[in-house]
Protein backbone atom coordinates (compact mmCIF):
# COMPACT_ATOMS: atom_id res chain seq x y z
CA UNK A 1 0.00 0.00 0.00
CA UNK A 2 2.83 2.38 0.94
CA UNK A 3 4.54 1.70 -2.35
CA UNK A 4 1.32 2.50 -4.27
CA UNK A 5 0.85 5.80 -2.44
CA UNK A 6 4.49 6.70 -3.04
CA UNK A 7 4.19 5.97 -6.76
CA UNK A 8 0.98 8.03 -6.91
CA UNK A 9 2.59 11.01 -5.17
CA UNK A 10 5.70 10.87 -7.35
CA UNK A 11 3.52 10.64 -10.46
CA UNK A 12 1.45 13.66 -9.40
CA UNK A 13 4.63 15.59 -8.63
CA UNK A 14 6.02 14.86 -12.10
CA UNK A 15 2.75 16.01 -13.68
CA UNK A 16 2.75 19.23 -11.64
CA UNK A 17 6.33 19.93 -12.68
CA UNK A 18 5.31 19.88 -16.34
CA UNK A 19 2.39 22.31 -16.03
CA UNK A 20 3.49 25.43 -17.93
CA UNK A 21 3.01 28.78 -16.21
CA UNK A 22 1.67 27.05 -13.13
CA UNK A 23 3.05 29.68 -10.79
CA UNK A 24 0.93 32.75 -10.18
CA UNK A 25 -2.76 33.27 -10.54
CA UNK A 26 -4.60 33.95 -13.75
CA UNK A 27 -7.87 35.70 -14.57
CA UNK A 28 -11.05 34.23 -13.13
CA UNK A 29 -13.13 35.14 -16.16
CA UNK A 30 -12.93 33.23 -19.41
CA UNK A 31 -11.60 35.20 -22.42
CA UNK A 32 -15.04 35.51 -24.02
CA UNK A 33 -16.56 36.75 -20.74
CA UNK A 34 -13.82 39.33 -20.26
CA UNK A 35 -14.09 40.55 -23.85
CA UNK A 36 -17.84 40.97 -23.39
CA UNK A 37 -17.39 43.02 -20.22
CA UNK A 38 -14.41 45.03 -21.45
CA UNK A 39 -16.14 45.98 -24.71
CA UNK A 40 -18.23 48.46 -22.76
CA UNK A 41 -16.39 51.69 -21.97
CA UNK A 42 -16.94 52.20 -18.25
CA UNK A 43 -15.49 55.59 -17.45
CA UNK A 44 -16.13 58.83 -15.59
CA UNK A 45 -15.11 62.24 -16.88
CA UNK A 46 -12.83 64.46 -14.80
CA UNK A 47 -15.81 66.72 -14.04
CA UNK A 48 -17.71 63.77 -12.60
CA UNK A 49 -14.69 62.78 -10.52
CA UNK A 50 -14.37 66.39 -9.34
CA UNK A 51 -17.95 66.17 -8.12
CA UNK A 52 -17.19 62.95 -6.22
CA UNK A 53 -14.22 64.70 -4.59
CA UNK A 54 -16.32 67.73 -3.60
CA UNK A 55 -19.14 65.65 -2.15
CA UNK A 56 -16.71 63.15 -0.55
CA UNK A 57 -18.85 60.42 -2.07
CA UNK A 58 -18.37 57.29 0.03
CA UNK A 59 -19.61 55.01 -2.76
CA UNK A 60 -16.53 55.84 -4.81
CA UNK A 61 -12.89 54.94 -4.29
CA UNK A 62 -10.20 56.48 -6.45
CA UNK A 63 -7.14 54.37 -7.15
CA UNK A 64 -3.99 55.96 -8.49
CA UNK A 65 -1.95 53.32 -10.36
CA UNK A 66 1.15 55.49 -10.85
CA UNK A 67 4.28 54.78 -8.84
CA UNK A 68 4.64 55.96 -5.24
CA UNK A 69 6.90 58.92 -6.08
CA UNK A 70 4.43 60.29 -8.64
CA UNK A 71 1.58 59.78 -6.20
CA UNK A 72 3.40 61.65 -3.44
CA UNK A 73 4.18 64.53 -5.80
CA UNK A 74 0.49 65.13 -6.46
CA UNK A 75 -2.72 63.13 -6.42
CA UNK A 76 -6.46 63.62 -6.40
CA UNK A 77 -7.74 64.11 -2.83
CA UNK A 78 -9.10 60.93 -1.32
CA UNK A 79 -7.29 58.60 -3.71
CA UNK A 80 -5.35 55.51 -2.71
CA UNK A 81 -2.07 54.50 -4.33
CA UNK A 82 -1.78 50.97 -5.73
CA UNK A 83 1.16 51.05 -8.15
CA UNK A 84 0.34 49.21 -11.37
CA UNK A 85 3.00 46.54 -10.83
CA UNK A 86 1.48 45.70 -7.42
CA UNK A 87 -2.09 45.49 -8.63
CA UNK A 88 -2.07 41.73 -9.14
CA UNK A 89 -0.71 40.99 -5.66
CA UNK A 90 -3.18 39.16 -3.45
CA UNK A 91 -3.25 41.81 -0.69
CA UNK A 92 -5.28 44.23 -2.80
CA UNK A 93 -8.17 41.94 -3.66
CA UNK A 94 -10.40 43.09 -0.82
CA UNK A 95 -9.71 46.74 -1.63
CA UNK A 96 -10.74 46.24 -5.25
CA UNK A 97 -13.90 44.32 -4.56
CA UNK A 98 -15.77 46.38 -1.97
CA UNK A 99 -19.51 45.98 -1.92
CA UNK A 100 -21.50 48.94 -3.26
CA UNK A 101 -18.33 50.89 -3.98
CA UNK A 102 -17.35 52.03 -7.47
CA UNK A 103 -13.62 51.80 -8.06
CA UNK A 104 -12.16 54.43 -10.40
CA UNK A 105 -8.60 53.94 -11.67
CA UNK A 106 -6.50 56.81 -12.91
CA UNK A 107 -2.96 57.34 -14.14
CA UNK A 108 -1.36 60.20 -16.07
CA UNK A 109 -3.14 59.23 -19.31
CA UNK A 110 -5.64 56.55 -20.29
CA UNK A 111 -3.47 53.53 -21.03
CA UNK A 112 -2.29 52.30 -17.61
CA UNK A 113 -5.65 53.00 -15.99
CA UNK A 114 -7.48 51.13 -18.74
CA UNK A 115 -5.10 48.18 -18.33
CA UNK A 116 -5.70 48.24 -14.56
CA UNK A 117 -9.45 48.28 -15.16
CA UNK A 118 -9.19 45.23 -17.43
CA UNK A 119 -7.03 43.38 -14.90
CA UNK A 120 -9.51 44.15 -12.09
CA UNK A 121 -12.41 43.02 -14.28
CA UNK A 122 -10.57 39.85 -15.30
CA UNK A 123 -9.96 39.06 -11.63
CA UNK A 124 -13.72 39.05 -11.16
CA UNK A 125 -14.33 42.53 -9.76
CA UNK A 126 -17.47 44.44 -10.66
CA UNK A 127 -17.98 48.21 -10.73
CA UNK A 128 -14.55 49.18 -12.02
CA UNK A 129 -14.10 52.37 -14.04
CA UNK A 130 -11.41 54.71 -15.31
CA UNK A 131 -11.15 58.48 -15.13
CA UNK A 132 -10.99 59.31 -18.83
CA UNK A 133 -7.96 61.34 -19.83
CA UNK A 134 -6.16 60.74 -16.54
CA UNK A 135 -4.34 63.39 -14.54
CA UNK A 136 -3.32 65.27 -17.69
CA UNK A 137 -7.00 65.80 -18.48
CA UNK A 138 -7.64 66.67 -14.81
CA UNK A 139 -5.01 69.42 -14.98
CA UNK A 140 -6.28 70.74 -18.29
CA UNK A 141 -9.96 70.76 -17.33
CA UNK A 142 -10.14 71.14 -13.57
CA UNK A 143 -6.93 72.95 -12.64
CA UNK A 144 -6.40 75.32 -15.54
CA UNK A 145 -9.74 75.95 -17.24
CA UNK A 146 -11.23 79.45 -16.93
CA UNK A 147 -14.58 80.79 -18.06
CA UNK A 148 -14.00 83.24 -20.89
CA UNK A 149 -17.51 84.33 -21.99
CA UNK A 150 -19.40 87.49 -21.04
CA UNK A 151 -22.49 85.94 -19.52
CA UNK A 152 -22.54 82.64 -17.71
CA UNK A 153 -25.48 80.26 -17.72
CA UNK A 154 -26.62 78.44 -14.60
CA UNK A 155 -25.26 75.18 -15.97
CA UNK A 156 -21.85 76.68 -16.73
CA UNK A 157 -21.81 78.33 -13.34
CA UNK A 158 -22.41 74.99 -11.63
CA UNK A 159 -19.73 73.36 -13.78
CA UNK A 160 -17.07 75.96 -12.96
CA UNK A 161 -18.08 76.07 -9.29
CA UNK A 162 -17.54 72.30 -9.19
CA UNK A 163 -14.12 72.67 -10.83
CA UNK A 164 -13.02 75.51 -8.56
CA UNK A 165 -13.95 73.60 -5.43
CA UNK A 166 -12.11 70.49 -6.62
CA UNK A 167 -9.14 72.66 -7.61
CA UNK A 168 -9.04 74.16 -4.11
CA UNK A 169 -9.18 70.70 -2.52
CA UNK A 170 -6.39 69.49 -4.84
CA UNK A 171 -4.19 72.50 -4.03
CA UNK A 172 -4.85 72.20 -0.33
CA UNK A 173 -4.06 68.49 -0.15
CA UNK A 174 -0.99 68.58 -2.35
CA UNK A 175 0.48 71.73 -0.79
CA UNK A 176 0.74 70.08 2.60
CA UNK A 177 4.27 69.25 3.74
CA UNK A 178 5.08 65.53 3.48
CA UNK A 179 4.84 65.02 7.25
CA UNK A 180 1.29 66.37 7.32
CA UNK A 181 0.37 64.42 4.19
CA UNK A 182 1.43 61.23 5.98
CA UNK A 183 -0.72 62.13 8.99
CA UNK A 184 -3.61 62.89 6.67
CA UNK A 185 -3.25 59.49 4.97
CA UNK A 186 -2.93 57.69 8.33
CA UNK A 187 -5.99 59.44 9.71
CA UNK A 188 -7.95 58.57 6.59
CA UNK A 189 -6.89 54.93 6.79
CA UNK A 190 -7.83 54.74 10.48
CA UNK A 191 -11.23 56.25 9.84
CA UNK A 192 -11.84 53.69 7.09
CA UNK A 193 -10.83 50.80 9.35
CA UNK A 194 -13.13 52.01 12.12
CA UNK A 195 -15.99 52.35 9.69
CA UNK A 196 -15.35 48.94 8.17
CA UNK A 197 -15.10 47.25 11.54
CA UNK A 198 -18.22 48.82 13.03
CA UNK A 199 -18.61 49.28 16.77
Amino acid sequence: MRVKISVLLVGLGVLLAFIPGGAGKSFRLRPSELVGKAAVDNYFTVDEVARFVNTEDSTVQLIDVRNAAEFRFCNIPGSVNIPFENLTETGWESALNRENVRTIFYSNDDLLASMAQTIATGMGNENVFVMKGGLNEWFQTVMFSEFSGETITARENALFENRFRARAAFNQMNSLPDSLKNKYFDAKRLQRKKLDGGC
Binding site: V35, L112, F139, Q140
Partner: protein, 152 residues
Amino acid sequence: MKNLKEFALVIGILLVVAVLVFARTFNKNRFSESTQHIAETLKNEPVFVEADNLQINDYLVVELGENSNKEMFPSAVKVSFEALTDKNFRKQLEISEKKILLTGDELQTAKAWVILNQLGVGNLFILTEKEKTEKLRYNFNPDTTKAVVYVE
Protein backbone atom coordinates in the same frame (compact mmCIF):
# COMPACT_ATOMS: atom_id res chain seq x y z
CA MET B 1 2.11 -8.18 -15.72
CA LYS B 2 1.28 -8.92 -12.11
CA ASN B 3 2.86 -5.59 -11.07
CA LEU B 4 0.79 -3.76 -13.66
CA LYS B 5 -2.42 -5.21 -12.24
CA GLU B 6 -1.36 -4.19 -8.73
CA PHE B 7 -0.78 -0.65 -9.83
CA ALA B 8 -3.82 -0.40 -12.09
CA LEU B 9 -5.63 1.96 -9.74
CA VAL B 10 -2.59 4.24 -9.35
CA ILE B 11 -1.99 4.31 -13.10
CA GLY B 12 -5.67 5.01 -13.69
CA ILE B 13 -5.64 8.00 -11.29
CA LEU B 14 -2.45 9.34 -12.87
CA LEU B 15 -3.91 9.02 -16.36
CA VAL B 16 -7.10 10.88 -15.38
CA VAL B 17 -5.07 13.66 -13.74
CA ALA B 18 -2.79 13.83 -16.79
CA VAL B 19 -5.77 14.20 -19.12
CA LEU B 20 -7.25 16.94 -16.94
CA VAL B 21 -3.92 18.77 -16.80
CA PHE B 22 -3.45 18.63 -20.56
CA ALA B 23 -7.04 19.68 -21.20
CA ARG B 24 -6.61 22.69 -18.93
CA THR B 25 -3.18 23.60 -20.24
CA PHE B 26 -4.06 23.50 -23.92
CA ASN B 27 -7.61 24.83 -23.63
CA LYS B 28 -7.74 27.83 -25.96
CA ASN B 29 -10.78 29.14 -24.11
CA ARG B 30 -8.77 29.96 -20.99
CA PHE B 31 -6.15 32.53 -20.15
CA SER B 32 -2.76 30.85 -20.21
CA GLU B 33 -0.54 33.47 -18.56
CA SER B 34 -0.38 34.57 -14.93
CA THR B 35 -1.50 38.13 -14.20
CA GLN B 36 2.03 38.94 -13.01
CA HIS B 37 3.15 38.56 -16.64
CA ILE B 38 1.47 41.89 -17.50
CA ALA B 39 3.57 43.94 -15.09
CA GLU B 40 6.71 41.99 -16.04
CA THR B 41 6.20 42.67 -19.76
CA LEU B 42 5.64 46.39 -19.16
CA LYS B 43 8.71 46.53 -16.95
CA ASN B 44 10.96 44.73 -19.42
CA GLU B 45 10.19 46.67 -22.59
CA PRO B 46 8.38 49.85 -23.63
CA VAL B 47 5.11 48.77 -25.23
CA PHE B 48 3.85 52.22 -26.20
CA VAL B 49 5.01 53.22 -29.68
CA GLU B 50 4.71 56.89 -30.61
CA ALA B 51 3.32 57.59 -34.08
CA ASP B 52 6.32 59.80 -34.89
CA ASN B 53 8.81 56.99 -34.22
CA LEU B 54 6.90 54.29 -36.06
CA GLN B 55 8.85 51.94 -38.38
CA ILE B 56 5.77 50.59 -40.12
CA ASN B 57 7.51 47.65 -41.85
CA ASP B 58 8.43 46.08 -38.51
CA TYR B 59 4.82 45.63 -37.48
CA LEU B 60 1.66 43.74 -38.27
CA VAL B 61 -0.85 46.52 -37.65
CA VAL B 62 -4.14 45.54 -36.02
CA GLU B 63 -6.89 48.16 -36.21
CA LEU B 64 -9.46 47.83 -33.47
CA GLY B 65 -13.01 48.98 -33.89
CA GLU B 66 -14.75 51.02 -36.53
CA ASN B 67 -12.21 53.79 -37.13
CA SER B 68 -9.94 53.01 -40.03
CA ASN B 69 -6.75 54.75 -41.08
CA LYS B 70 -6.29 53.29 -44.57
CA GLU B 71 -3.81 55.93 -45.69
CA MET B 72 -1.42 55.23 -42.86
CA PHE B 73 -1.98 51.48 -42.60
CA PRO B 74 -3.12 50.11 -45.98
CA SER B 75 -2.43 46.49 -45.05
CA ALA B 76 -3.77 46.59 -41.51
CA VAL B 77 -5.79 43.72 -40.08
CA LYS B 78 -9.17 45.04 -39.00
CA VAL B 79 -10.89 43.43 -36.06
CA SER B 80 -13.73 44.34 -33.75
CA PHE B 81 -13.12 44.23 -30.01
CA GLU B 82 -15.59 41.36 -29.64
CA ALA B 83 -13.62 39.28 -32.15
CA LEU B 84 -10.34 39.43 -30.20
CA THR B 85 -10.73 35.84 -29.07
CA ASP B 86 -11.72 34.62 -32.53
CA LYS B 87 -9.69 31.53 -33.51
CA ASN B 88 -8.77 32.76 -37.00
CA PHE B 89 -7.61 36.12 -35.69
CA ARG B 90 -5.43 34.51 -33.03
CA LYS B 91 -4.00 32.13 -35.60
CA GLN B 92 -3.11 35.13 -37.75
CA LEU B 93 -1.23 36.68 -34.82
CA GLU B 94 0.53 33.41 -34.01
CA ILE B 95 1.90 32.86 -37.51
CA SER B 96 2.99 36.47 -37.97
CA GLU B 97 6.74 36.90 -37.64
CA LYS B 98 6.37 40.65 -37.16
CA LYS B 99 5.71 42.57 -33.99
CA ILE B 100 2.02 43.27 -33.44
CA LEU B 101 0.88 46.88 -33.19
CA LEU B 102 -2.59 47.67 -31.84
CA THR B 103 -4.20 50.90 -33.01
CA GLY B 104 -7.54 52.56 -32.36
CA ASP B 105 -9.21 54.15 -29.36
CA GLU B 106 -6.69 54.22 -26.49
CA LEU B 107 -9.03 52.79 -23.87
CA GLN B 108 -9.86 49.88 -26.16
CA THR B 109 -6.30 49.16 -27.32
CA ALA B 110 -5.08 49.06 -23.71
CA LYS B 111 -7.81 46.56 -22.84
CA ALA B 112 -7.04 44.49 -25.94
CA TRP B 113 -3.34 44.48 -25.04
CA VAL B 114 -4.08 43.00 -21.58
CA ILE B 115 -6.42 40.36 -23.00
CA LEU B 116 -4.03 39.27 -25.74
CA ASN B 117 -1.08 39.31 -23.33
CA GLN B 118 -2.98 36.97 -21.02
CA LEU B 119 -3.84 34.72 -23.95
CA GLY B 120 -0.11 34.25 -24.51
CA VAL B 121 0.38 36.55 -27.52
CA GLY B 122 3.88 38.06 -27.39
CA ASN B 123 5.55 41.03 -29.09
CA LEU B 124 2.50 43.24 -28.54
CA PHE B 125 2.68 47.02 -28.83
CA ILE B 126 0.24 49.93 -28.67
CA LEU B 127 0.36 52.91 -31.03
CA THR B 128 -0.11 56.23 -29.24
CA GLU B 129 -0.78 59.59 -30.84
CA LYS B 130 0.54 61.50 -27.83
CA GLU B 131 4.15 62.34 -27.22
CA LYS B 132 5.56 60.81 -24.03
CA THR B 133 2.40 59.01 -23.15
CA GLU B 134 1.76 58.28 -19.46
CA LYS B 135 3.98 61.21 -18.46
CA LEU B 136 2.46 64.08 -16.50
CA ARG B 137 2.62 67.03 -18.88
CA TYR B 138 1.78 69.62 -16.24
CA ASN B 139 3.83 70.85 -13.35
CA PHE B 140 2.13 71.25 -10.01
CA ASN B 141 3.43 74.09 -7.88
CA PRO B 142 2.44 73.66 -4.25
CA ASP B 143 0.90 76.81 -2.81
CA THR B 144 2.42 76.75 0.65
CA THR B 145 0.91 80.07 1.75
CA LYS B 146 -2.60 78.81 1.04
CA ALA B 147 -1.78 75.50 2.67
CA VAL B 148 -0.87 77.31 5.91
CA VAL B 149 -4.16 79.19 5.81
CA TYR B 150 -6.12 76.00 5.20
CA VAL B 151 -4.31 74.08 7.95
CA GLU B 152 -5.24 76.81 10.43
